[in-house]
Symmetry: C2
DNA sequence: GAGTGGTCTAGACCACAGA
DNA sequence: CTGTGGTCTAGACCACTCT
């Protein structure tokens, strides 16, 4: 038989579903509105719940939806732009910093961190935890690794832990002359502790920003910040940034 | 009964699986090696295939694995660092550009793009497609939107489309004085066309970098570049960048 | 054709939020 | 308590790659 077969490429159901839902979101729902529950939606579209969920997951990944266990699925607001990598090189904690120091510990960092800091394999470093809030919502959690050699004047008589200790460490760090900083962004999934702080489930997609602070010809501090990928758009340069969202599968109609 | 119940929080199976696999990857496999197929792995761990797949998906998201239909699952090499947002402001296509022009069309852009370019709703703009290759692999696909007002001298006698046309448009663009550029990074999923160019399935996670080029007090061009999130680490600053990977759930042992 | 990952189903139970 | 999303199962078939 001459299987004429235009209509090649049988589009996956969940992909088509995603498109349909996406259009419905724009025309029939407003931000914050809650959608019907997954079982109803699946029935309405005549698919299994797992298939429906695959579509919802993608929409959540794109920051269009927000799902919370025990509550429901709501239409997400546009992503908030968070400035990162301001070109005005500055030490963490300096001046008008958007970060808030949470805690400070002294411990051996992960091996990958030791390698960058050029510290010994089991050598302990100051580990400062900070969190970043924007528009009332937590958007990022950070771990700052600072080798003792970067803050030689730090006296042991200060508080041994807690926010006060964290601030003391950062204050000492600022005595060094910052020669430069370089950052990298990559996709990751939230560890249990970060997830908790970001009010997400473990494994949630995050944007990991690692920043190396250079002073004295070496890496004086290393920051590993994890941003909620669903709600954040990281901006570089003159802050604020562009208001563009990817417009899936469509050229303005 | 006094359900003593230490061991609260029943960790999801797929989460535990991911940890186990992650450790196995480091100790028992080398880059490029292929893993047993999903059915065998699921049987070996005593879970359903869907559960195993949930773990594999996360590891792929983190850039630890690479899966290809009809072939198998392999251990991925470390992410490649790609420089983006070099602070040396420069027009696209200028000098030693890492991008390669593919095509050029004249069409009405998505509404979100029109808004930024301040063009009319149905006004056509030059749309240049470019691709970026690193280490022999395609890492990014870009759409560059350039309103006709940014390249007034462009004569219609050049090739009407194709790479030659694209290069001609970029050449004209460079006559303007670049006043600045600002970028933003966010998570997205690959459209069908981008996915094809990146050798991935539609919906694959991508890092979307939108860059606004400023000249003459307005947005002279807008770039929307989608990078493979599984294989790329975007670096800012003195390029090269930090060799850090998130070390899930573990402090150096 | 054989073997792989990708999609899909129709159920079940669990963890959590809110009344 | 009810209702929500999150996890999990044991199948089935499809699309693709390679031989």
């Amino acid at each position: 038989m001459g299987t004429t077969q235009l209509e090649t490429v049988p589009e996956p159901k969940y992909w088509h579903l995603k498109t349909v839902l996406s259009e419905a979101l724009e025309s029939e729902f407003s931000v914050g509105e809650i959608l019907p529950n997954e079982r109803d939606l699946a029935a309405r579209f005549g698919v299994a719940r797992a298939t429906l969920r695959q579509a919802l997951e993608q929409l959540e990944l794109e920051g269009r939806l927000q799902r919370r266990r025990g509550v429901g699925t709501t239409v997400a607001p546009p992503r908030v732009g968070v400035a990162v990598g301001t070109e005005q090189h500055a030490w963490p904690g300096a001046g008008n910093d958007v970060w808030q120091a949470v805690d400070c510990a002294v411990a051996a960092p992960p091996a990958a961190v030791s390698a960058v800091l050029e510290t010994g394999r089991e050598e302990a470093v100051y580990t400062v935890r900070r969190s970043r809030v924007s528009h009332g919502q937590p958007v990022a959690a950070e771990l700052l690794y600072i080798p003792a050699s970067s803050v030689p004047e730090l006296s042991a008589i200060d508080a041994p832990s807690g926010p006060a200790r964290a601030r003391a460490v950062l204050r000492e760090l600022q005595r060094l002359e910052l020669e430069g900083q370089e950052s990298a962004v990559e996709l990751g999934s939230a560890r249990a502790d970060d997830a908790k702080e970001l009010d997400r489930l473990p494994g949630a997609p995050v944007l990991v920003v690692t920043t190396r602070f250079l002073a004295d010809g070496r890496t004086a501090a290393l920051s590993v910040a994890t941003y909620r990928a669903d709600t954040c758009r990281l901006t570089f340069g003159d802050s604020g940034g562009v208001e563009i969202h990817q417009d899936p599968e469509r050229r303005a109609s």
